[in-house]
Symmetry: C2
Subunit: 443 residues, 2 copies
């Protein structure tokens, strides 16, 4: 088992690739009561076209299929539900699908070894029938309708459709009402066979490994043996390179503006900047997110003059939210607020974003926001779920959380200059949700 020490952060990470290709990551957290484990595949809503395992031609699958498959994994061949089995052990289980990954996770304070076995077992026994797929279509349709009625979700999706013309971020992770009815057990099995092969998956365990293994010597090796034994009982096909095909995009936004009406009382606005496809090398994705966050925090964050000005001019009614996202392929920046002056807010934020095509930040300001971002991260290292989940998510983006944090701490103000090229007028779009009785021309 390979061990890496991140001395500045005082973190240690054990890593091993099993014979079947499964990567196991163990992050020891001595003294912590809780353990977090997540078993994840590099497969999410981004992938709707791929060559199924053992085949030669590309297959287009319905939108939302990764999320659909996640729902169905909990159903066990004997009719039981994996969530219930975890609950009986006193463990909290859950799952999530995003654009990049599908993860199955649990946390708890006892029965961790049993939990890990159950986690591996239930994810490695798909049980899909015509009947249970049909039932799930109804359940997911309800879930999608709920999202569609949520103004924040509608705002986000509206902005994404404005930014992207074909890249899957323009669709909900869950797909659409039209797409999910096309999902069949056959499609699901093809996705499962291709993306749930151990060689496309990572298992991460964060916690007091010595305590889990009853203080045996070399506890991380013992834990690995348990996982090895579990895997050895199962038969896997030969690992194959997965061929997937995603339509990527340049920096030009699909539409520059748009709006919708919903049953709300104060208009909601999101302004977005498209981050185009480019080659991300190791740690680039995480560094991009961190650098952009410093820049946004220093430009419109709550301690800036700009923020005070927006309050004074009544361009915002309260807080302002921003988000920086990249999946290591494409990405976006989103700035969102509730406002009674949507058009003025949009103009203000657009101007601020465009001003970043020539970054003029003072050393002192840069260092202050860099430190605050680092501080947030170091505090988060006490949160096992946060470490485990983020380590996985960034692994799939070819970034090492601990390494990137080390690199980020050495960042200079000059390193931000490379971001200037992203702040172009054609990369920007906005989307507004207004109350039903309002006229868009009047806002």
């Amino acid at each position: 088992m390979m061990v890496r020490n991140y001395e500045i952060l005082n973190e240690k990470v054990y890593s091993e690739k099993l014979e079947n290709g499964l990567r196991v990551i163990i992050v020891p957290k001595p003294g912590f009561k809780k353990t977090f484990a997540c078993f994840a595949t590099k497969y999410g809503a981004l992938i709707n076209r791929f060559v199924p395992y053992g085949e030669t031609d590309y297959l287009d699958v319905p939108l939302g299929i990764a999320h659909f498959l996640e729902h169905k994994m909990f159903e066990m061949p004997d009719g039981s539900d994996a969530t219930d089995l975890f609950a009986k052990m006193g463990l909290d289980a859950n799952a999530l699908t995003n654009y990049l990954m599908t993860g199955y996770l649990f946390s708890g304070t006892a029965n961790i070894k049993e939990g890990i076995e159950l986690l591996l077992d239930f994810v490695q026994t798909p049980h899909l029938t015509e009947e249970n797929v049909l039932k799930e279509q109804g359940i997911i349709a309800q879930e999608l309708k709920m999202y569609m009625d949520d103004p924040n979700d509608a705002l986000h999706l509206g902005l994404m459709k404005n930014l992207f013309r074909a890249y899957p971020l323009r669709y909900d992770v869950g797909g659409t009402l039209d797409s999910i009815i096309k999902i069949t057990p056959e499609y699901l099995y093809k996705c499962y066979e291709t993306f749930y092969h151990p060689s496309n998956m990572i298992l991460i365990i964060v916690g007091d490994i010595d305590a889990i293994m009853s203080n045996s010597t070399n506890s991380h090796e013992m834990l690995l043996d348990l996982i090895r034994a579990n895997q050895a009982k199962k038969v896997f096909k030969k690992p194959l390179d997965i061929r997937k095909n995603i339509l990527v995009e340049d920096e030009t936004a699909n539409k520059s503006s748009g709006y919708a009406k919903m049953d709300i009382s104060i208009p909601k606005v999101a302004v977005g900047l498209k981050l185009p496809f480019e080659k991300y090398e190791k740690n680039d994705a995480m560094m991009m997110e961190l650098k952009m966050k410093v820049l946004l925090e220093a430009t419109i964050g709550p301690t800036t003059d700009a923020f005070q000005e927006m309050l004074d001019l009544e361009l915002i009614t309260g807080n302002i939210y921003y988000d920086v996202y990249t999946d290591g392929i494409c990405g976006f920046i989103k700035i969102q607020a509730n406002t009674n002056k949507p058009k003025q807010f949009i103009a203000y934020i657009r101007e601020k974003l465009l001003s970043l095509s020539n970054i003029k930040l003072e050393e002192e300001v840069f260092n202050r926001f860099k430190k605050s971002l680092l501080g947030n991260f170091l505090r988060a290292l006490n949160n096992l779920d946060y470490i485990g989940y983020n380590y996985l998510e960034y692994s799939f983006k070819e970034s090492d959380v601990f390494e990137a944090i080390g690199l980020f701490s050495k960042l200079n103000i000059e390193d931000l200059k490379a971001l200037e090229k992203y702040f172009k007028v054609e990369a920007i779009s906005d989307y507004t949700i207004i109350p039903k009785n309002m006229l868009f021309s009047k806002i």
Copy 2:
């Protein structure tokens, strides 16, 4: 007027942006009898979605519309044809549309000033009616059918469809039989208004400027005055930034292999490597093409051991052709030959391409092929059409032909290492055309 001297090449280039946005480039070639002029717009088959001049929403236009518009420009409002008018002056006129640009050009030895005026005038007077568009649909349909019957065109397009899933290189510049019937005068005018604005165009003139201007002092300024006066007579709208939207792609080929049957006697094969979208800075596009050419010439060119081996093994029946293309957005490498052993040829070329993921080239070999490429270029500088056309083409790819050649002459063998990342199995595809009576499984 700005002048740049490229001392190593002994070339001088005058450049000026007129008030209406038109860029004029004058390349003096003292002592040359012939003059070459080309008036071109940065608008070709890549663009099928854009915001029309004065509008706010994106418009999808039928495939092949840039090429269609080129055909129609020669028709003059008074019923005459511009080609005939050039011919009467003793000038040879022509036009071309590729993925990146549409150019109108003429060359000749006398009446150059008149030719330049006619060139500007005919391109700046669109004449499009329901009737003449309908007639042109029939003409272009014939042209497309001719291409479809050509085995080399079919081979190229087959490979492009294998490499690209959505990027417009997968379509013929002329569009499809289905798309051209959808073209209307209204669509054509929207394309014209948007992309034929002077601010999106370049006029280049290559020749003995002193002789053209009857040996007046400051002949290039006099020539510019003539162009200025011509433009001053016309009314143009305000220049606007053009918003266009192209689906770009990552390095994964759409399909890894494919074939078709045609009425030929020896199979034809093309092996392609996809060059993904990435940010091209100034001169990158031309440097990419040049570096790739050196690499291919040194790997499978006619003086290599590999070429001899392919002949000995009877993998090729004669020459081998390769092409390197980038439009500054995406691109490809294509290697093509006639062969009686298609599958073995494909396997051989694939292996050669993959071996370039670790470039091992001797200094001496590199310098030899670099010199030969440079030599070809320097010889080509005597060809006015070549200079004029290439200068334009590369301008639209943000590359300066003379500058890039200077940079290329300073290239080291180590600079090729950066190309290694492109040579990946998932980026490669092949396409074969076999004789009608042959079985693909038997080749």
